[in-house]
Amino acid sequence: MTETALEAIGISKRFGGVQAVADLSFAVPAGSITALIGPNGAGKTTVFNLVTNLFLPDAGEVRFYGDSLRDRTPGEIAALGLLRTFQTARIFPGMTALENLLAGAHRQVHFGAAWQMLWLPPALREEASLRRRGEALLDLVGLSRFRDVAATSLPMGAQKLVEVCRAVMAGPRLLLLDEPAAGLNDTETAELAALLRAVRDIGIPILVVEHNMSLVMNVADQVIVLDLGHLLARGTPLEIQHDRRVIDAYLGVEQEAV
């Protein structure tokens, strides 16, 4: 039996008249990529907000490697290693692409302000190694040439990749990605897929919300389908592709549109 990275138990959230998430339970196994799909407004982003306590759930509980996340602030949850990206890229303006990545590495900094201010060798070595990691990551997603460019001046697709890389730099124990491929062109999507697989292969599980079906089918080990806040189906990409209810609710429409 594989370890469970994240477990949601009966979480619900209502906004006024809208039941955005209804009594939803799911699990994200460690060491794998889980995709969360569903039509617009299905409640996917809300699930992320509930998991990271940006909104407090009306009911239910979320466990992260067995620890309850109840009563923790978003900052504390991030500090535990549950990192997320936002649907609209939230790149830090006024910083270069590499600096954005390094800011993400905050959790990895063990020699803090005092060490850095005194230029002590351990802090210098740590900084140098973080830089190397950041540069390697930018290389992996084909953004090396943007390394020292203002991150906010990059094309939208590149910004989203930078945001994903920034979260990866944090050395997460689970990565939540909200529509990382939105706005990416085909090359960039391919690079994203490579990145996601690389991240999984170094042992970081991923929960990814995505509309791009070919990407989902390509990288996901498990797919969770959400509709109107309810769990509609769960299975391997192959099973989901042939699930009648999913095709009716979602995939059919999508495929016609394509």
Partner: protein, 634 residues
Amino acid sequence: MDQFAQIIVGGVLQGGVFAIVALGITLVYRVTGIINLVQGGFCILGALCLYSFQSDLGWPLPLAFLAAVVATTALGALLGAATFVPALARLPNSSMLMLTAGLLTFINGLALVVWGSQPYAVEAFTGEQPVNVLGILVPSQGFWIAGITLIIILGIWYLMTRTTLGKAVVACAENPTAARFMGIDVARLTLFSFALAALIGAIGGAAVAPILSLQFDGGSFFTNAGFIAVALGGMSSLPGAIAGGLFLGIAEQLAAGYVSSLFANGLALALLLATLLWRPQGLFVAGRARRHDVRDELRVARSVIRPGARTVSVAALVLFLFLAALPYLVDPGFMSSLVITLILFIAVLGLDVLMGYAGQVSLGQAGFMALGGYTAAILATNYGVTPLVGTLAGMGLSLICALLLSVVTMQLKGAYLALATLTFGLLIDSLTVGLTGVTGGPSGLVGIPSFALGPFVFATPQEMYYLVLAIIVLLLVILTGGMRSGFGRALQAIRADQTAAAALGINVPRHKMAAFAICAMLASLSGSLFAFDFHFLSPEMVSTPRSFELIAMLVIGGEATLVGGLSGAALITLLPILFQPIALYKTMAEGAILVLAFQYLPDGMLGGLWRLIARSAAATPAIADGTVAERPSS
């Protein structure tokens, strides 16, 4: 009982004045979400214009009054159209707050140029004879003030509730974006509210002119009182502004009547500090319709020109050699000004960590200078403590104050730290003036010894210069180490986007607190050195205008550059000394430079310089918006 009634009458009158200023501030706040510190400047301009038209030109009162109000309002509309409104579209709230502080400095300086520094008195509108109402003597001007206040309140009430314009203001206050979609021209409305605030300020200022002694910097007094009233009453509520003004006026008069006037001032500020810390939504308003967050989304991208490590090393070496050789290059009489420049630069360095990197605003940097300066000076002068220990004691005290201030404000978004630090600075101002027995009062503390380290005494400007230079080099090495690595990046991430920073596991409150602590301790160090250098310390050397000056130095020099502030400090300190004739224009120029720098020089002089170097050296191709980045090679 009689005395009590008399005091209450005095309190209501004074409160009416505060309420008028507060109304102006609230009006602009409701439309823009900006605390408009320039408001008091319009009051003093109205009052001084009234004096000039009446006494110098000999115009009759009604004509002089009208002309004073028209002239002030016109200037207000002009300043609004040229600075406030265009800046609002581009600058974040914190910068806007400082821009209005710059405008206030500009008006103070303008008044100094036009009216000089002597006090003026205006005759009461209808004779000086007080009126006896049921045994209570009410100054005749009191009826004018009460009447005019009432007319202003009714006028605003009518405007807000009965006219389309007023409804547009309300819509804008609730949601500017939605208002724009509804076809409301937000920019014009902003200008309208700004000019209307100037009008109210001018009328109020002219009305109270006869009961005050008018001086060029009276605008700061009005702004402080109005700002305290607004913060007490609840930021965005018009009735709250009136209630806050009256409450403040009565409380001050009671304290002054029964205790002392020093106590009155300190009490008001302590009251405000307590309010900001424990009930930030104000005393009189249940936390409704706070509009802080509306504009917080505006994130300003700063240029990301990163000069390479070699460029930086060479530039740093050249700068160091230049500074080290400077005493041999300049006239000895000039040395003491250079020392002051360097000492002030230490305070600017601290401000850069807080403002430039972490994006938090402190308007009370001079308060910490005063804390450090007076603590060290008093300990060294009266208790024989060594200067070094005195300096460290000052820094410790500043650290404690900074932590106390930040414990609560750091949890809140918006302008609370700025407001709390401004209040802190004003409180320290009133203490340094008032605690005559301890601080020497307005005439200052004399006989402060020279700084000394063991047997080494730093008595001459030359010796002091090298001491401060050594401290600065040390500080620059330390701060560069911190800012170039994880700590500095965490601060910049917080400045850029708090939510995203927290989502990366950055402990936002703790980092803000660390930045504030560094900022306060460096100000304290600077204040101590200031005292040991001058052998003298008086309140106005380290009072609130100095806080604004330090901000100007930082912004002009270049934020988040550490060393940039040196050029700002040098410019503002040395130019008036180099060109004596312009000394009179110093305050005005400071204000103007600050405002212009915010609008046209977002990266300061140093940023502009890097930009030029990077552009001319354009080895790297320009990408997208022309931002060029050199390769850092560390």
